[in-house]
Amino acid sequence: MDWLHFAVFTLILFAFVISGVLFFIWYERRGLGRFQMRPGPNRAGPFGLLQPVADAIKVLLKEDIVPTLADKPVHFLAPLVAFVPAMAVFAVIPFGDGALLADLNIGILYIMAISSVIVIGIFMAGWGSSNKYSLLGAMRTIAQEVSYEIPLVLSILGAVMLAGSLSLNDIVKAQDVPFVLLQPLGFLIYMTAALAEINRTPFDLLEADSEIVAGFQTEYSGMKFGLFYLTEYAEALSVSAIASTLFLGGWSGPAFLPGFAWLIIKIIAVFTFIIWVRATFPRLRIDQVMSFCWKFLLPLALINLVVTAVLVLSGLNDSPWIAIPFNLLLAAVLIVGLSRQFRTGGGHAST
């Protein structure tokens, strides 16, 4: 009955992702509102809950405009190329012990590989629109996402080493103590790099509305724009899900709630953090983004990787009461130490 499992689980996943995205759109807009001391959308339905539905209907009814000079097949395919991988990532996220579409033994590798394809979709959008703003945004994305992939993978490797497996289900099962305590630095690096990967503030250079109109989305309208919008939030959902699975213990938690409920609670917590970051930080310049990745995050991730390897080999990580304070201290020392070497020439410059 393999096909039945696949069919049913795919349907469940679709429902989960679509409803998750709708909820996230509402949650982010309300949350940002609260951070900015305003109510946020509150007219459509109770608490504005129907706002995403209203948005979706509006987007569906819009005219689909294709620029005359556009590379039409590319312009048409780009939203799909971006959307499908964002969706496919959820295939390996465990919602409970073994409750996942496909328990790949290389789950995390699969996620990394699949989610890199989204960049291609975005670049296709920028190229196919034949618009300078689209292309500018797309170029920035390529530069940024290819760079941030490296610290991202390195930070995940810490968790993988601790668990000794690439399967997400095994990683969850290996977390007697959530890895965020054993890998605080890895978690921070992962969150930073993931924010850059999914192009959220402060790394939202590709659609920086105040500089380049809407970046790669400039020439998109109607359902294609809707797909990009969906992709953006599906990515945010997947990043929150991966962070909860890798570092926060995934579906495991006290038994009074079922596993998927714990996962959803953790996803919402991580997403709240993402909104918090968005409400706080201004956008970085592209050179700052790049130097931050290569000069700060990458060395930090490498050191973290080596230190974690030593800790795993020496068996220190087996006794959490020593390992947790040690790791927290280590993270603080490394961050402070490395930031003394790292200067972007921003507000704090004292060359």
């Binding site: 951070f35 930080f281 402070v336 004292s350």
Partner: protein
């Protein structure tokens, strides 16, 4: 060793500030249902003219230092002056109030402080020839809806600027800096009790 800073503590400070904003009350209001109190010192947002009481003496037009008022006056069959058209260019108006002081009837032109300065196309009220709006019957122009056009001087809303004797009773200006967090509110209530 230099002091321990520049490790991204600015980021933490920023996060702390936004987190504190979470508990604050909204500083925006839900406009059609709620309105902010207009300052008692506001000089006005609108010039409102009353056709019924105007005697077409053109005193206001002459008094206006910036020439914002344009009137067309003609003598009707009964030898009475009547106003054919009056326009007030609110882009020019400096809300000095000289037109009001100069008006011999005292109530024909005044500064309103409407919340919404809505205008309608004249065609929307083509049937309404007896209305009191300026430019009524002159189609193709934007006309103003003067919802404050009340005949009685006493009930006509005016800002405190023009009624110093009543200004004290008006609600104070809504200053957004008065907004506090829920926690601070509760503490203050407890202290005042």
């Amino acid at each position: 060793m230099p002091p321990l800073k520049h490790f991204g503590e600015g980021l933490l400070r920023g996060l702390k500030i936004t987190a504190r904003h979470l508990g604050r009350k909204w500083i925006t209001v839900q406009y059609p249902e709620q309105k902010l109190t207009m300052s008692r010192r506001v000089r006005g947002t609108d010039i409102i003219w009353d056709r019924e009481s105007c005697i077409s003496c053109r005193a206001c037009e002459r008094a206006c230092p910036v020439g914002a008022i344009k009137m067309e006056v003609s003598r009707g069959e009964d030898k009475k002056l009547k106003t054919d058209d009056i326009t007030v260019d609110l882009g020019l108006c400096i809300f000095c109030g000289l037109c009001i002081e100069s008006c011999p009837t005292g109530v024909s032109i005044y500064i309103g402080y409407n919340y919404a300065n809505t205008t309608y196309r004249c065609t929307h009220c083509a049937t309404d020839k007896s209305g009191t709006s300026p430019s009524n019957g002159h189609c193709g122009e934007l006309i103003r809806s003067n919802d404050e056009l009340l005949p009685n001087d006493a009930v006509r809303p005016r800002s405190g600027y023009y009624r110093p004797e009543r200004a004290g009773e008006l609600p104070p200006q809504t200053l957004l800096v008065y907004q506090t967090t829920y926690g601070e509110d509760r503490r203050r209530k407890k202290e005042s009790r």
